[in-house]
């Protein structure tokens, strides 16, 4: 009973609930959910989920990062170019990951050390990163050995799909970070910078770390997407940044910082993805699709925000008849 209560009051619960409900609807509409549905769902959306994890980390310290999509594009371009220059697939992927880390560190430097508003700083860097991607590979093209795609669409340790492992790496890494003293510091910093500073927390270093982590997440997202498409596309991530912020908010992560967790980002992103499937399966007239999609999104966000609203909660509790 207590566990149920805890689950219900969990920040990410509304997103989880929305996801499950929409998953069910989708199952009904397409006649049952199959293993292959989940496999293609996860392999298609692992990138978006990783980016949502990354952006959630930055939002937790009251920041944000809208350059992750551009980093994803850059990673894709780097991997393809490196592969075509003769590097092996693992080497190329490592190079892509490294460039994402560098981008993340650069963001961390600008936001943490130079103290520039994260929204604007990452807007500027996103322009720059997207520029680099387009500069390296002006046109979609190139290819990566299909063994990359086979690896990605296959399993690891016999039965776990590779994308799940990739997301799992990020999740485990983050869980470990949360167990470090740094974990508490991140939540403290998200609540109030000045107090964090007064409490002896190294604000610049934490910001730097969080953006670097976000860069890493974008790097893994880039690997997922590159493996899924096995080709180069210099703008492949361009729309991911904004989607991921919406995902985080649906997942109960407060844009003011200090509240929520990466599970929120994960469920939020999953909900957004399943929403797309539903809108397609419903076979609506094409002119109303995006309008309806926007409306459902709005409802989703409102639901998850209302669910986190303390005043509303206490009002409901009072109505049910609890004391104080």
């Amino acid at each position: 009973m207590n566990k149920v209560k805890k689950l219900i009051s969990w920040n990410a619960f509304p997103a989880l609930l929305l996801f499950v409900i929409f998953l069910g609807i989708n199952g009904i509409m397409t006649g049952g959910l199959s293993v292959s549905f989940f496999r293609s769902f996860i392999s298609t959306n692992a990138g978006a989920i990783c980016v949502a994890i990354g952006v959630t980390a930055t939002i937790l310290v009251a920041g944000t990062d809208i350059s992750l999509g551009s980093i994803v594009s850059l990673v894709n371009v780097v991997i393809v170019t490196a592969f075509e220059k003769g590097f092996s697939v693992p080497q190329a992927a490592t190079l892509g990951l490294l460039s994402a880390l560098l981008c993340g560190m650069f963001n961390g430097f600008i936001v943490g050390v130079m103290r520039i508003n994260p929204l604007l700083a990452t807007f500027a860097t996103s322009t720059a990163f997207a520029g680099i991607a387009l500069w390296i590979l002006p046109y979609p093209g190139g290819y990566i050995d299909f063994s990359f795609g086979d690896w990605y669409l296959g399993n690891m340790f016999g039965f776990i799909p590779t994308p799940v492992i990739l997301i799992g790496i990020l999740v485990i890494l983050w869980i470990l970070v949360m167990k470090l003293p740094m974990g508490l510091h991140i939540y403290a910093l998200g609540k109030d910078v000045k107090k964090a500073y007064a409490s002896g927390i190294n604000v610049a270093a934490l910001r730097f770390f969080v953006h670097t982590f976000a860069g890493l997440a974008a790097g893994i997202a880039g690997i997922c997407i590159s493996a899924n498409i096995c080709a180069g596309s210099p703008t492949v991530g361009s729309t991911m940044s904004m989607n991921s912020i919406a995902a985080a908010v649906i997942g109960g992560v407060s844009l003011n910082g200090g509240i929520g967790g990466i599970w929120g980002g994960i469920f939020g992103a999953s909900f957004l993805s399943i929403l797309i499937s539903i809108v397609v399966s419903a076979n609506l007239s094409s002119v109303v699709q995006s309008f309806i999609q926007g409306l459902i999104l709005l409802i989703g966000v409102t639901v998850s925000i209302a669910a986190a609203d303390k005043e509303l909660k206490t009002k409901i509790k009072r109505a049910i008849g609890g004391k104080r």
Binding site: L119, A121, T127, A128, G131, L255, F291, Q293, V301
Partner: protein
């Protein structure tokens, strides 16, 4: 010379958008309007469709009509932020999807837009490089800055509500109303900017103004307004707009690969932000 006037025209349009954006940012609570581009695109499509008898009359009607269209979206933004309590960034982001979807739904993706001579006349020359639109915008800018933002009771309330909502409420200021009105004003300005954009461009397309969202935010911030709300100016936003348009134009004139251009643009933006918008040190 001609290039200057083109810069001024684009700056004027961005300035109009940045005025609305500034009001929303000033309104505080991490206020931000990510739907500026969508509103502009929408009014650019629907504004010129107004056609009642004479061209002049149509043109005169277009202005209140686009202001109204923008204001309606702004009102939904404002209510979403204040009543549904959705964070502004996300609320306005989603609204921008909804608005774009709405434009497609209504026009079935094929708007019938014939931009009239009168509307296109906004880029006519007055004297030398001074064209009608920039001149009007400068006058509007100064009037709004002085008589709306600084002198009017509403403007002063906006600053207070944006700075400290709680305190403003306890003083008897209806912050909710004040903030919603800021979104309405922001939407209306974006609506008007969209009309001017289509007048300048001569033809309308779906999503033609999508880049104006981030540009307007950047312009406002480069102009010295903090994203935390409670303070700021419209004139700063105009200067920010000029800077951004100049950068774009100069880069455009240089012949280089698109990626490189975007890289340089990003770096310039970073440098401007570093020079001009760093948060104060934590240790004084």
């Amino acid at each position: 010379m001609n290039n200057i006037s083109s810069i001024l025209m684009t700056t004027s349009i961005l300035t109009l958008a940045s005025i609305g954006q500034a009001a929303v940012i000033i309104s505080g609570d991490s206020g931000l309007d990510m739907s500026v581009g969508a509103i502009m695109s929408m009014t650019a499509l629907f504004g010129p469709m107004i056609n009642v008898g004479s061209g002049v009359l149509s043109f005169i009607l277009m202005i209140p009509a686009t202001l109204l269209m923008g204001a309606i979206v702004g009102a939904i933004n404002g209510l979403g932020v204040q009543v549904l309590k959705v964070v502004p960034l996300v609320m306005t982001l989603i609204m921008s999807n909804v608005v774009n979807g709405f434009s497609i739904m209504v026009t079935k993706g094929q708007p019938s837009v014939m931009v009239g001579k009168e509307l296109q006349g906004i880029s006519k020359t007055l004297v030398g490089p001074f064209r009608i639109l920039p001149t009007v915008v400068i006058v509007v800018l100064i009037l709004l800055e002085v008589f709306f933002l600084r002198k009017s009771r509403y403007g002063r309330k906006l600053f207070l509500a944006g700075n400290n909502r709680n305190a403003a409420n306890l003083c008897g200021i209806n912050s909710k109303k004040v903030i919603v009105l800021a979104y309405i004003f922001g939407g209306a300005m974006a609506g008007f900017a969209g009309l001017m954009l289509v007048g300048y461009a001569g033809t309308a397309q779906m999503n033609m103004a999508s880049s104006y969202t981030m540009l307007s935010i950047a312009a406002v911030v480069i102009g010295g307004t903090k994203l935390t709300g409670g303070k700021g100016t419209f004139i700063g936003g105009a200067l920010g707009s000029l800077v951004l348009v100049l950068i774009t134009n100069i880069l455009q004139a240089l012949n280089m690969a698109a990626g490189l251009r975007s890289l340089i643009q990003g770096i310039i933006l970073i440098v401007i932000l570093m020079m001009n918008s760093r948060a104060p040190k934590l240790r004084q």
